[in-house]
Every structure is written in structure tokens, then in C-alpha cells.
Amino acid sequence: MFEREKAQLNDLKKEYENIPISLDSIDQAILSGFQKAKTEERKSRIKKRSAFGFIAAALLLIGLFSSIKISPALANYISEIPGMEKIVSMIRDDKGRMAAVEKKYYQKQGVSDEKDGLKVTIDGTIADEMGMVLFYSIESKEVLKEVMFDDVKIRAKDGTALDEAYNSFGDAHSSDKGETKFSGEIEYFFEVPIEAKEYIVDLKIKDMNFTINLKLNEFKKKKEYAVQQTMDLEGQKINIEKVTIYPLRAVVKLKMNDENEKYILQLDDLRLVDENNEVWGNIANGITGSGDKDTEREVYLQSNYFKEPKELYLVLNSAQAIDKENAVIVVDTEKMKILKQPNGNKLRNLRKEDGQLVFDLHTKKPFRSAIFSTITDAQGKEIEVSSQSMGTEEEKGTTRLGIELPPIDRSQNPLTIDLSFYPEWIKGNEKIRIK
């Protein structure tokens, strides 16, 4: 049966066997596809501790406070230690880490590993029982236009299991004219306190593995304040349970009241203030919080560890919040329709652009946050989002928000999108004393 069709199909195959092929172009295409996958891999490597992690990139959040002044003592210290200036430039938007350097809690390491003309050095560390920041540099014999770590793993030398909560591997360094030296920082935070003092860091660049041993000094002990007080913004209640101050960051443990009518998303300006009105604000670059949006949550702030205040307050004036009734976006990607969204009709013009699902977010001032959190299909299955994009159109006051999704079947529609940021605020004037 169908002998003729089979013969024709075979002829067709033979015909393609003789087609001239540009192997170079194919190799080029393979390389582009591979690079695209690698770039995204890095982007998504920031491990989320739970479904509702908040991560800020330096440019996304407009810092509450302008950059931190360098004290004369610090300026002196910087000039004494070679390479210190560069490190300080990396932590300038974090008061707590600046103070750690100033109080000489920064630990010089200078340990390195070298392979095939590439040298990776851990210049120094700031560490506490919940995390560590490693300052690294990469030196190359040849001029490089691009270099980044493909993987970084930290393990305890004695084999104790480490429960990592969040890590970021430093930057994807790139330079059009090419450089021979690059530097950046690696952040590692843990779920449970670490005790070991000796660590092995495995770093991977392309197929080269570098191994560096680290010895950490004794950690400074955390300072804990039990609080159990309630903050109230327009009737929405937040119970502040505990504040713990570590050298690298302050952790505010809080719980949203079950009876709230709104989900409280981002606490915009939660901050520590001492008796002299000195302020420690949110983390500008890195993980800013974790936990669940309607129950318990941890918010991370810059640390005031190296100051010994007489009085310490936790202050909040503004938070993003949306009605629980209308807290998600529901879209039909086939009909390209927004079926549901929070009150105010701020999201408009759903469309497909460059393979992404794109919305326009209308606000008075551009809202510089990628607002989407998890996305689930009609069957309640989570859809993997490969990337989110964001761009602002200043003159129109709109923010263009894109999500890159895998192909969606008809049966998966409609999709439900959870939010981690949204331009609706509740305000107040809350100040509670914690010390």
C-alpha cells in the first residue's frame, strides 16, 4: 500500500541530500541558540527560597537615601589597603556593609586558583552566621570581552551540609574594548546558621573549574529584639514579631493579619531609625525579602550592626497593596484578552511582541518594577517563565512589561498571574520602638 507515496517521500529525502549547505551559518546559529540559553540560565540562577521571594536589582528600586558618605576614618583605611577602593565602590549603596569595612570586620583573603591563563582570586569576605559576601577578581592573560561564572558552589570543608537560601554569582562582565581584569561580588545566604569556619569554593568559568579554600574569622553574634507590635496602614495590619541584626543585614520577621482586606506586597520604605534620626533602609541590590504574601514574611534591611544605638525604631509609611478579592491577573492568550485584573484598569493593550506576552502598565509616573510572580494555567499547573522584561516610556508614563512563556495550548487558557509588585499604595505613619 502507498508504495508510490513512499517512493515520492524517499525521492524528496534524496533531493535534500544534495542540497548545498553552509555549515558555517549552521554553526553560527547553534552558537547563538546556545548563548541565549546560557544567558538566561544565569539570569534565573538566583534561587528563590519560596514562591514569593523579592529580588531587587540596583536600577529597579530608587534608593530611599542617596549614596553613603565616606567617613574620614574609612577614607584613611581605604588608602592603606590596595584594592580596597574597588571593593568599597561595590558596596557603596549598603550602609551596613560600609560600616563592616570601616570597623575592620571585612576580612582580607587573597587566595586564588589559576588555570589556562585565567586567575580567580577571592580578595576578601564579609561573613556572618547567615551568609557571606565574597569579593572576587578574575585576571586573564588575554584581553577578554566577556567573562562570567557559570557556577559557584560553597561547601564546608568538614562536609557539614549547608542549606542555601539565596545566592548570586556576580556579574556577567562584558567590555566592548576588552579587559584583562574584572571584579565583582558573590553573595550566599543560608536557611540555617552556619558554624564551620573553613570552606571550599568551587567556581566554574566555561569548562574550567577553580577551587579556592577560605578560612573565615569568628562571626560576630547576632542581636535579637523581640517586638510583637502591630503596624497599621489604612486599616491593614502588620504584626512585627522580631528584628534580628546580623553584620550583613537586618532581618524583620513579620506576619500579615488574616483579617486584612488587602494583600500587602512590597513594604516600600520600611526602615530602622535610631535616636539621632539616622536611617538604615532597604537592600538596594540583592534579595530584599522572602516568605509568603499573605502570611509570614522576612524583610531584609541594611544592617546597623556596627552602631550601638540608645534607641532603635522601625518605621513604615507606605506599602503596595491590592484588594484580596481582585489580586490576580487572568488572561486568555488565545483571544489576547485581559479577563481580570486589580481595580483601576491599569494594565492595557495585551499583545504578543518578539515572542513575549506584553502589557502596558498605565501610571502617573513610570513604575519601574517587573510586577509578575508565579503564573499558573487553567489546570492549576505552574508555568515556567523564562524571563521578564521591563521598559518605561517616560513621555507616556507607561511601563511596558513582558513575560516570556513556553508555547501555551488552548486547554491551558486562561492563565492566572500572581503579583509581587503593583502600583497601588496604602499609607500611614507608623513608628514602633524596638529598643
Binding site: M1, Q8, E15, I26, I30, G33, F34
Partner: protein, 173 residues
């Protein structure tokens, strides 16, 4: 290294092994793309996208013996989606010349007929006759009995005949 070993390494995250594998099958991939999309530029774009998708999903590949089928299927799925996106474009002589193929009328009709088929038929015919994948392997990849694949294959061939008949000119005995 044996292909299976390479696949194992690639699943573990070895980039070099992954790229070697794509190299091994790049010509198969390219020809499959060309047969669907009939345009060099789009076929290259397909290679890029399939490399990307394969890298993202290789951890989900359960059996290292079926890497080739798995890879070709990613390509076929991609091409099917592309075909749906852009409505069918008829080829003109210029496009044919740019392909470097001198086509007789029958070949052209066959290609048109292939594009008219449903996705599954097109996939199964492409796997079987274009990429020489065994029925047994297609069955494993599609997670169904071999008998079902044979039934589908027959249906696909019948559908192909009907499409060719519609176009006339294909006199079979």
C-alpha cells in the same frame, strides 16, 4: 565518546558534550527545517531556537538512547508552530533557485501536500521517511504502542494520497 555517553554527560550539564551532540545532528536538523520551512534563513533561525530549547530541556530527557528522535521532534514541533504562525506561502521560482534545488512538478506538489497535512501526520512521515527513525523508536518517543504508530503512519500516507489526488496529476495504480 559514544553518543549515549555524550548524552549522559550533556544531561549532567556538560556543555561541551551538548554542543558535540548538536554538531552530530545539525545536518539532520537543518534538512528537516528546510523541508518544512523551505527557506534558508528561517531554517537557520530554527536551528538557533532548537539548540536553545534542547539546552533548556535536556534535563527532562529520560532515555539517552532516543536523543536524536527527541531532538528532531523539537524541530518538528517548532516548525509546525511556525507554519501555523505564517499562513502558507507558495514558493515561486526565485525562492526555489535560492534553495539551490531544481524541483520537478511532482516534488513541489508533494511538499505542498505535506504542508496541508495535520501536525501528527506530518511529524510521523518526517520522522519515518526523512530522518529514518524506526517505528519502535517513534512509539517510545510518543509513548504509545507500535501498533498505534503503524496505524497513524497508514492514516498519514492515506491523507497524503488524498491531498495529492486533490491536486490532480498524481496517477497511481
Amino acid at each position: 565518546m559514544e553518543t549515549e555517553q555524550l548524552v549522559k554527560e550533556a544531561i549532567k550539564g556538560n556543555d561541551e558534550a551538548f554542543l558535540k551532540l548538536i554538531q552530530t545532528y545539525k545536518v539532520d536538523l537543518y534538512k528537516t527545517a528546510l523541508s518544512f520551512l523551505r527557506n534558508e534563513e528561517e531554517a537557520l533561525e530554527a536551528i538557533q531556537e532548537v539548540t536553545y530549547r534542547a539546552y533548556k530541556n535536556i534535563k527532562k530527557l529520560k532515555n539517552e538512547f532516543y536523543f536524536k528522535t527527541w531532538l528532531i521532534r523539537i524541530m518538528i514541533n517548532y516548525c509546525n508552530d511556525q507554519l501555523k504562525l505564517k499562513k502558507r506561502v507558495f514558493m515561486n521560482d526565485e525562492m526555489l533557485n535560492s534553495l539551490g534545488v531544481s524541483e520537478d512538478h511532482t516534488q513541489l506538489e508533494l511538499k505542498d501536500a505535506m504542508l496541508d497535512l495535520d501536525d501528527r501526520s506530518r511529524e510521523i512521515l518526517t520522522l519515518k521517511y526523512f530522518n529514518d527513525v524506526k517505528i519502535k523508536d517513534i512509539a517510545i518517543m510518543m509513548q504509545c504502542p507500535e501498533g498505534t504508530v503503524k496505524t497513524w503512519l497508514n492514516k498519514a500516507l492515506r491523507a497524503l494520497r488524498e491531498k495529492l489526488d486533490e491536486k490532480g496529476g498524481n496517477l497511481h495504480v
